[in-house]
């Protein structure tokens, strides 16, 4: 009895340690960035444009650039990804060759490094379609990059909607599309949103693919055909070219805050949605 008791305690301790390592790493990184970045971050830093390649001024244009690129990427990827997921889970015959091909493609695409998408976007959007380094080229490249994540998570979410919901809806005389749009998609929404959040995180953190397709201009973008620099790209260039490590940390701090805000908002919307279903 005593021996098992001690073993239980040791096992418990091991798991506790693993959990604390995670928490510790998180606190150290965030703390370090906060301490280093805090001295430069203020309202001016957020609301003024960078000057002298970022040595002076703020990061306003890179925040705008990040928001635009993310919005364009989601605008393409979410409808396409969710529609694909609906097709695969609700319309395609499970064993059809086409469905298997699409599944395999999505799985493979999910594992391809982002720089490959960047290279493709550079050759295809920037040069071949002659869109130049622009929000459009970058946004579409990023859309392709996040498409597998959005599709897979949406598929998973749709698959998890109880089959009885669909049967009940159809038995009430709803058409297939009414059932999908009024029952299946709303029930799957929390899972779909999770996939979108993961994707936003990837877009906000991306650098290489963006430099190749959206450029790294510090100017304020005025249309979809203008080049932009995102915060992550700005941080990368500031640090790499030794322009200002201080400002690199300031930018990092803003990125982290933004990610935390996005996660929190998503958490709130998930809670509101699951409130309905629990």
């Amino acid at each position: 009895m005593k021996a098992t008791n001690r073993l239980e305690k040791i096992i418990n301790l091991c798991f506790w340690l693993s959990a604390s390592v995670i928490a510790g790493i998180f606190i150290i990184i965030i703390g370090y960035i906060a301490v280093k970045g805090f001295s430069v971050v203020n309202l001016d830093f957020i609301f003024t444009a960078p000057t002298r390649a970022g040595k002076e001024g703020g990061i306003s244009t890179t925040i705008i650039g990040t928001v635009y690129l993310t919005a364009v990427a989601l605008l393409f990827a979410v409808p396409l990804g969710v529609s694909t997921a609906i097709y695969l889970e609700e319309y395609a015959r499970r064993k059809s060759r086409f469905a298997r091909l699409v599944n395999l493609t999505a799985e493979t695409l999910a594992g391809i490094p982002s720089i490959i998408f960047g290279l493709f976007g550079f050759v295809f959007f920037v040069i071949f379609l002659n869109l130049g380094w622009s929000i459009l080229s970058g946004g579409m490249t990023l859309a392709i990059m996040i498409l597998p994540t959005i599709t897979r998570t949406a598929q998973e979410a749709i698959l998890n909607v109880p089959h009885e919901y669909r049967e009940n809806s159809l038995a009430l005389g709803a058409s297939k599309w009414q059932t999908i749009s009024k029952i299946t998609i709303p029930s799957a929404a929390p899972g779909i949103i999770t996939g979108i959040i993961l994707s936003i995180g990837r877009v906000v953190g991306e650098t290489a693919a963006i430099i190749l397709t959206a450029g790294s201009s510090l100017g304020m973008p005025l249309s979809l055909s203008d080049p932009v620099r995102t915060m992550a790209v700005h941080l990368y260039i500031l640090a790499l070219e030794g322009i200002s490590l201080e400002r690199a940390f300031g930018t990092a701090f803003v990125i982290v805050i933004l990610i935390i805000i996005i996660n929190y908002m998503a958490h709130l919307s998930l809670r509101r949605l699951s409130h309905l279903s629990s």
Partner: protein, 253 residues
Amino acid sequence: MANDVKIKSTDLKVFYHDFQALYEINMEIKENNVTALIGPSGCGKSTFLRSINRLNELIEGTSTKGQIYIDEIPLYDKDIDPVNLRKNVGMVFQQPSVFPMSIYDNVAYGPRIHGVKDKAILDEIVEKSLKAANLWNEVKDRIKSPATGMSGGQRQRLVMARVLAVEPQVILMDEPASALDPISTAKLEELISELKNSYTIVIVTHNMQQAARVSDYTGFFLNGALVEFNRTDELFVNPRDKRTEDYITGRFG
């Protein structure tokens, strides 16, 4: 008690791929009566029930031969739209599956998809349906709260209300009480007896006492065939077929 035939099945056969689930079912179900379908698991009673609202065809590889008529309209004709059919033939399933939305929205779901938009009319339908399902008094103060917070018995009556809100002529029930406690079951059976004045009800049940209590007619299925079909009092007191007698006396099943 009306004695018109509401549902008529002629030589109905159902296949799942190569497996034949039903063999030439011929049956006449009377209007404003409760008809119970009994038999051991896998005997085809649920398959028959689901062929009345053409729900079987949602499963890949199902094929149906023969015909079912409701009011002499052949359901398996090419021009029959199963979506329209299901508006007239409601169904209650074994698991009371409420949608993850409010009690009100659950009941209003059917009318809304069939085009009712006026709030006053919807309010009226919801209240009427919940009253008809004997649920109104229990939920009238929390009609906008999530339906998922209800007990199993309440959920099954909510599902009934949701079906009634569409105003079907026929209600199919697939072992509606199997997930319920005895008190909820009693309430549901009471409800069935009330509803048969306005609806034609077909109920699949594992529970022979339940069939005897609620139904006017009973059909006994075995291995995909309808072995015996008669008035409930006749079938239970005086079974004509040896297999029916063996089943209702508990010799197998």
